[in-house]
Symmetry: C2
Amino acid sequence: MYKVFGMSASGNCYKVKLLLEQLQAQYRWEEMDILKGATRTPEFLGINPNGRVPTLEIKPGQYLPESNAILCYLADGTAFWPSERFERAETLQWMFFEQYSHEPYIAIARFICKFLPADHPRRADLPRLRERGYQALAVMEQQLARRSFFVNGAYSIADIALFAYTHVAVDGGFDLERFPAINAWIERVRAQPRFVKMA
Amino acid sequence: MYKVFGMSASGNCYKVKLLLEQLQAQYRWEEMDILKGATRTPEFLGINPNGRVPTLEIKPGQYLPESNAILCYLADGTAFWPSERFERAETLQWMFFEQYSHEPYIAIARFICKFLPADHPRRADLPRLRERGYQALAVMEQQLARRSFFVNGAYSIADIALFAYTHVAVDGGFDLERFPAINAWIERVRAQPRFVKMA
């Protein structure tokens, strides 16, 4: 049985939970409180030297970090990751976009707003994070104005990866009302079989 | 024939060039001067709405952005991307690590030092970038102390992805002498068949 080292409030961890539920896979969830240093213990650094969650235990001694690599592992051979060569690469394209051009702005803005004190100096970063985050949302809007899901019109791990922090972007001060295609896509994702909400 | 929209001084673009050479694939290179706005023209934004290079033209009208997604596309079905399920995911794990925990610090420090004026305000970011960059290098060192290449001891696109900015980290003020396993790995990558240098 899989074991997920994860923090329920993290979008990166929610991605893994959502896919496991949609695959009807069996797993145990080990809740890790990042803010209390759970990912910095010698024990956990032995599991993932980069000290991050989610990390998937496939079996004792076999561990896989990086949320989007975990999605690829779990989705391999299923309808959640297309088997056609170019569509596979397009799925990865959106997942790398998510980790490079989206998450560092939209997830970090949410973290600052939701988890740090109101007078924390990192609030000074918010204008720049929002500018870059809105750029990412505009790229998504353009794609979703033409397609119902990111790759070839079919729900995939690219949608799961991008849904995680997009649907809670309001927590970081983003106004999603500007993006009608994104809003319609969020509703399509929510309507997928075995969809579960983020904690 | 493939066409690569790329900037020769960019490590992300160099990844694609190195793999294409090692695959002995035919391609044309279209040099794009990012600093002069070549990725912000309406024409290029029609090709890649995120306005970034490298972007691969597979055939006219079929484009793939994101350096690491391009590596996966090109390496699919070759020895550069393992076919075993867990090894495939481990390869992706290191490629997501590269884009999230490595490139934003090591490549950006290099960009600031090499391409911006000596009195540019972004130089104030360098201490933080170096702290995070050294954390990424320490994670790599730990893996390379145990293995000759990142995944299962065989040269793969994970090595190409991480080599690109690691071997020029000195440009961003990083001291690689602290990392003997990384230095030995750099020499092993350089010794691969059909290796080509970065411009």
